[in-house]
């Protein structure tokens, strides 16, 4: 019992420690998102609720753009589905890192918490993922994400444009911090990342009409599939852990 409480406390502390840098990055990105939302006529409260519930950068950009364009509800549903479709794959990957005993609510809660970065944390966590850890990191990051959106809507015009631009690259810096360290240890991953960069660039040029969300899905399926055929995992390691 005591051991259990200690473990829970450790996981909460670890969640706070890893969630804080993600949340700080989120705040900056969500701030620029808030500026977009403000332009679409979204109120501060609406922006806060939308961010708590959606917590997805590309998906929310699409949402505010569609609200600004007076799109139909079914269109919004379709675009959100496509821009967030990568979460289907992440969710499937995470299903392999859940304890067998995890029930429906625990799985639903873990699913709700999926973002690119929280997923990154789950992947980096060795073995079965701790829901306490994941949810602590997620709650902190999600609140900061929503706070960023709120501040962006309230005070969007205060920051100079070049500062907003600089803040908007923060999210990509975080992506790099997730994918580059494992690439240092594995040449296969390094090659795969370079191939992904090249294909993403090429496809963007060849088919500019293809949305970013669709491009992400298409390349994820094709390149991960090719990598799985050419370089299958060696032993019985779990979906997310490595070596």
């Amino acid at each position: 019992m005591r051991l259990n409480r200690d473990y829970t406390r450790r996981m909460i502390l670890k969640g706070l420690r890893d969630g804080l840098p993600i949340g700080l990055g989120y705040f900056a990105v969500a701030f620029s998102l808030g500026i977009t939302a403000r332009g679409a006529g979204v109120s501060p409260l609406q922006g806060w609720v939308a961010s708590i519930l959606n917590h997805a950068s590309a998906g929310e950009y699409a949402l505010y753009a569609l609200i600004g364009a007076h799109a139909a509800v079914w269109e919004i549903a379709a675009v959100i589905f496509v821009t967030n479709m990568r979460y289907l794959l992440m969710s499937a990957a995470l299903s392999q890192k859940m304890s067998n005993r995890a029930g429906f609510l625990r799985r639903l809660g873990t699913g709700f918490s999926i973002t690119d970065e929280i997923f990154g944390l789950a992947v980096a966590h060795p073995g079965t993922v701790s829901c306490t850890y994941l949810w602590t990191a997620f709650l902190l990051a999600d609140l900061m994400w929503a706070a960023g959106t709120l501040c962006g809507i309230l005070a969007g015009n205060v920051l100079p444009a070049n500062v907003v631009t600089a803040l908007s690259v923060a999210i990509y810096g975080m992506f790099l911090a997730i994918i580059i360290p494992p690439a240092r240890k594995s040449r296969i991953l390094a090659g795969l990342i370079l191939a992904s960069f090249a294909c993403s660039f090429a496809l963007g040029r060849l088919l500019p009409s293809l949305s970013e969300g669709m491009r992400t899905i298409l390349l994820t399926v094709v390149l991960s599939g090719a990598a799985a055929v050419l370089f299958p995992l060696k032993d019985e390691t779990e979906g997310g852990t490595k070596e």
Binding site: M85, S95, L108, A228
Partner: protein, 103 residues
């Protein structure tokens, strides 16, 4: 859009997002045996994040030079083990400074 319509749009988006995120997790209940699918799922996050980073990062910057500089700086910092927040900070700072340079 009216305020009511915006609320509906937000709730529909939230419902679809939750569905996409939670469906596989609630449906796939046992370890996947297939080596192909396990390998596929292992590679997914790297490809997804890489595709979303490039060239979007270059387009988000003030000009392509600033984007490339920020990408390079972030990659080097991450390579040498800097965490999420330091890397994000470095990319922002490099974008800001190189963004000031006009050609």
């Amino acid at each position: 859009m009216s305020s009511g319509e915006i609320w509906i749009a937000i709730l529909v988006a939230a419902g679809v997002s939750l569905l996409v995120r939670a469906l596989p997790l609630t449906l796939i209940r046992r370890p996947i045996k297939s080596r192909f699918i396990r390998s596929f799922l292992f590679y997914v996050p790297y490809v997804t994040l890489a595709v979303m980073t490039f060239p979007a990062m270059i387009d988000a910057a003030a000009h392509p030079g600033a984007g490339i500089a920020a990408l390079a700086a972030g990659t080097v910092a991450a390579w040498f083990g800097a965490g999420l927040f330091p890397v994000a900070l470095i990319t922002c700072a490099v974008e800001f400074l190189t963004g000031l340079i006009r050609f």
